[in-house]
Symmetry: D2
Subunit: 402 residues, 4 copies
């Protein structure tokens, strides 16, 4: 088996911390594969890199250590305190591999979180990119890695205005060269990964690799990338439930979704500009699955006491036969980190697999993981799983016939 | 187009009344196809018989007229009072075509509903069957029908004990001949339909055509039949949601389902023996979709004031990554009749289509309609729809290439 | 018995229309006293004016007739269509007694509803007041009334800035005289009522009689008045539930309330400025009952398909013994008009009673009816009812001993 | 201050374990008074014995130690693991003071839990009583207590048939003497307490002191006692909410309550006979508060994975003005032990206070604590709190004037 590195942008955030803690807890036999999509049949039959062997590193703009974050999370129950202590040494070691990153154009809400001088404070954009490439490079070399997968799990950026201006590789590179200070951090990290052939996952609604210029770059460098905005809670349920209404020809007159959460992400989303991107990708799922939906609103509010427990109430007003009005409601109470973290590990495994098999560019088989899957129009969860089933079947048949 | 007759067993019940009222309301331009699966693309492209042209008849053991039932239902909002009045003449005319039926082995709860002398009160089982066949036959002749589809929408029977004794056509026919008074009404109606080549739908959890002997008969007579227990509410949601938990490898520790309803069906289900069959098919869906489910209970209770509004609360306790316990709850408030009635019309259309195309025996493409689809193990709603998609694609391609 | 007139500000709105329709339906024996607080013991023992004898009139800035509004409401189920038709002649007759009103400082959302030229469009403020007084006066004279109770059920105004400037009767009267165009409509209607001795009810969060100068006026003219913001749904539940948490010393860490509705009120509340007043009085109930509440937010959103059905989801995160975190959630689905309308009738009866017994000024015994009861700090629903119990006991004892 | 002993019947159960753990955690400064009714104003002003000074002992029929039970509970989150370890020595010490008890007539479900030979297995009823009295006596002497309060927190017994046969003290004593083996354990414990002047609390729906003969005994011995069935969750909410519907004259057509829980109590309640008593006192609250309620059902089901987290769904179908049907639903997710335990401590304090002030017999001021308060018809939570307010006011005024 090859050595796989995992480079996390926002490495000291809740999702990264939980993913790292979980991976190390698995390595130490403290937990099982529940919640990992690649832990279940038939996906578990793929020849994927072992999570136990992942080598973690990353960028962040905060000083608070991984271990402190993990202990803070465990006060809220996830991960459990004894699990955190079991992996405390691992967390300390990984913490030493977290470099100072950039938060350029991440919004003032993210700036407030930062307690380190960010790269862009002292460097031109081109220099920031060079520094990031160096960080990736020296990490890979230092740990003798065969492959480094870069994953963006940083807080949501405000949407980039007029993204079409970065529609070609050339436009992106010119902007970097000319110290264009409007490119957001997520795109710089993505550029730095793709240009040197590192597979890239955008786990967030931020821009990441979703620029024409970066897609071109990925094609040219033959590197796989995927995104964006991981589907972890309310939207996951929507993508499972909405096809039921469509399938039965029940007309949805209104679908109200109200999300409340209290973690750092929730705080960043208090800022309306950061929230805008998130709301958009959440709303799009329904309008795609239910083209004649009457009213479709998503609210995200910050409720401090809930901490990492994202809670959603959805109210669905629909019409059936003989114009009968009916209702469905659901509430969802999930730990944001516990839902997101295993998907990070799944995506690293699956993207490493794609890279190993020279499947570059966008990865439509990974659509089930995202609210706004790049390059895929399908939002029906079951059909998205069917796409991954086919991919796996293709590869497991190959493996067997080898 | 051919003339299609629809013969409803339990023709004066809520589901039958709503289906008839809805069909006639469509014929009179009072309502649209919302809630009809065959009303949406791509199924709407199939060459199906028009609902507007359906000729209705049926059996019942109650005297209360269709119009009275429809007016009673409309007090509860479905169908609306003005719609009932628009089709009042149609209901009166159809009422004249409803014959006295049999309620043998339907349980004392159904006996309490009956206000007519049932056929079995004065006839041997063989004579009951002959009478039913005569009723089908003279209805078809009287209305110059090309095809008669028989649909069981009568109240749920207690489960038949030891059904294997009727495993062959010969065993069934011997039992009928020998006045075996343990065969339930639904099986007699199904026998009478199949033996004379009438397509048969079992919309309920009762036995119907689900006996080895009747499946053999259907094969020999080359007649299509389908069932059983239409999936209209809570179980429909389960079949859409459970695959999400399975897909994400989230382990369901407990799924509690509590249904309350207040219509005649609810009253019959108050009798524990009648309830047994219903609970079984509702519970099976989850244990099939979530093989390692920890706890799976379904309750159905009678709450008179709700009338036809079936309300369900489901509580799902599940475990994710790092053994994190999470919860989802939903409530569903649907009009039982408005949800069921269009499916009756859909199934008549689709079974007539199968018959027209000489597709006899069980009809796996109809699995999405049922809690316990005969001959199909698949309970994932999306995959069930995919089966119907394929059927439709096959037939619409044929049509186009014709 | 004396003749009681009811003058409704916003007489063609949903609440007014439902109150009038209900009163006339009672008069015609079409409905009973369910939902009327004064319809239950012990309040039913008070010598109150009969609802059947109420004479209705009012002001509005819309042309749409009462009957049209009632029919529109009945499409949504409340009142029922046949009830509306039974009282159609009454509604037509009352419609003729609705005069053009003022919507000054009611916000652009209300202006959009108006399809009549409002009084302030052509008159100075002093003239507007004179016109209103004339309208009250000629209605009373024309119908030979002993008493006219004025009730504000118009759409919510944006909050008045710096209300202290109207802290004395003299300041108010000077403002009217000097054509001060910042006084809101509700205050002008209240002034016009109080100055001529008509009891006044402010059913809404608007300013109404809640100005120091109007309280002074009411005292001087010895006229009873009450308000404000009737407690009909979610806040009613809060005022019943919050004392339970307080009583058991359970610490509420967060109480999230999300309201959705789709009627005209909902539309007006889409405007953030109109919403401000509403949110304030809704939120105050909790902060009064739970002084150490951690987080307290109320959302009101417009969901067109719900029409008059106001639906609320409340999520309560609380802490108990041993710092255990627990949760309660509720949803409330109520017809806004059916909840509000009977309270209008109750308040007219109770205020007429107070006037009859020379109990002038603020009426603390009516606190249970309001979200922000004027002159009362008590928000505990049971204690508020106890205040009315005492009032009734005092008066029924008097009656008996007379 | 005097030394107060607390003798717990069922001392190793969840409620007792949590109460003891909580009391010791308070003594050690590990938690605060949240959840304690006597911890809030104005009750906190009463001169009550300090919880920190309580001396615990008790009876049980299980061997499993307090510490083991506490650790088992902490796996489910309440109390927290570190709190349990902080008080581990205290739990060990208290465990040594737990004597073997009796489980006579507690039903087979309780017998299954027992892993000790119960007293009645080897002794006549009279001897069982003598043994219990001895246990109380030697505990009091051994710890130099001024007062011993006996609290029944054992699993619910099946209801006693024909309780009237024990309507006099003489009948009870004759039965004990004659080895009448139909008296349930809870009544024997209560007899033994009252006859020697120990205040007695029945926290459960079991018989306890609710026999005519025991009430007579308590009067004669001038000892205070109270009960029964502590109001901790769903019923607490009902007693807060139902008065709202009654107060607004909203007619409740159906109130469905569905409780699920997974702890030992839940398991005992799986036995229909044990469940009977519980359901009765839960249902009575509503029928008392809403005399014209249409349908009132309570379900309690055992859902193992929930452990101590009692979860309830309540569905309330009600009718308002113009016969409009509306709905309210709530779900309640509470830790049974965290809700119950502080009330045990509150009741000990308040009963000790009553005993100190020679207030013997039934204690109506404690009605707010119980589903079926002995000697009190009032079920309205706010009015019940008002009764305690008055008691406290009387006593605090006395104190101040002393």
């Amino acid at each position: 088996m090859t050595e796989t590195g995992v480079w996390l942008i926002g490495a000291r955030g809740n999702v990264a911390t939980t993913a790292i803690t979980g991976a190390r807890a698995m390595a130490r036999g403290e937990t099982d594969t529940t919640g990992l999509v690649t832990g279940r049949a038939p996906y578990s039959k793929l020849a994927l890199p072992d999570i136990e062997g992942f080598v973690f590193g990353g960028h962040d703009v905060r000083e608070r250590s991984l271990l402190e974050t993990a202990r803070g999370l465990s006060e809220n129950g996830v991960p459990k305190p004894d699990v955190v202590e079991e992996v405390a040494d691992d967390l300390r070691a990984i913490d030493d591999r977290i470099e100072t990153g950039t938060a350029i154009n991440c919004g003032t809400a993210v700036d407030d979180l930062a307690d380190r001088e960010s790269l862009e404070d002292r460097l031109a954009v081109g220099e920031v990119v060079d520094q990031i490439r160096d960080d990736y490079e020296s990490f890979g070399r230092g740990h003798d890695l065969d492959r480094l997968v870069v994953v963006n799990v940083a807080s949501t950026e405000p949407p980039l205005e007029d993204p079409d201006r970065y529609d070609t590789r050339e436009a992106v590179e010119r902007a970097i060269e000319n110290d264009d200070r409007e490119l957001p951090a997520s795109a710089l990290y993505a550029y730095a990964a793709l240009v040197d052939g590192h597979p890239y996952v955008n786990f967030t609604p931020s821009t990441g690799s979703a620029l024409g210029g970066l897609e071109e770059l990925a094609r040219e460098r033959a590197v796989p990338h995927t995104g964006r905005d991981a589907k972890t809670g309310e939207t996951l349920v929507k993508s499972a439930l909405a096809p039921m209404f469509a399938g039965r020809n029940l007309r949805v007159k209104a679908w109200e979704g109200h999300n409340i959460l209290g973690n750092g992400d929730g705080k960043v989303l208090e800022d309306d500009r950061n929230k805008a991107g998130k709301i958009a990708s959440k709303g799009d799922v329904l309008s795609s699955l239910l083209p004649d939906i009457g009213h479709n609103r998503v609210r995200i509010d910050y409720t401090p006491s809930l901490d990492d427990w994202k809670t959603a109430w959805d109210y669905i007003h629909f019409e059936g036969f003989l114009n009968t009005e009916m209702k469905m409601q659901f509430t969802w109470e999930g730990s944001d980190s516990a839902l997101a973290a295993p998907l990070v590990l799944d995506l690293v495994r699956l993207l490493a697999h794609a890279d190993e098999h020279d499947e570059s560019g966008l990865q439509p088989q990974l659509a089930s993981f995202f609210k706004a899957p790049l390059g895929v129009e399908e939002h029906n969860l079951s059909r998205q799983f069917a796409m991954l089933d086919e991919y796996v079947e293709r590869h497991t048949t190959e493996v067997m016939s080898e």
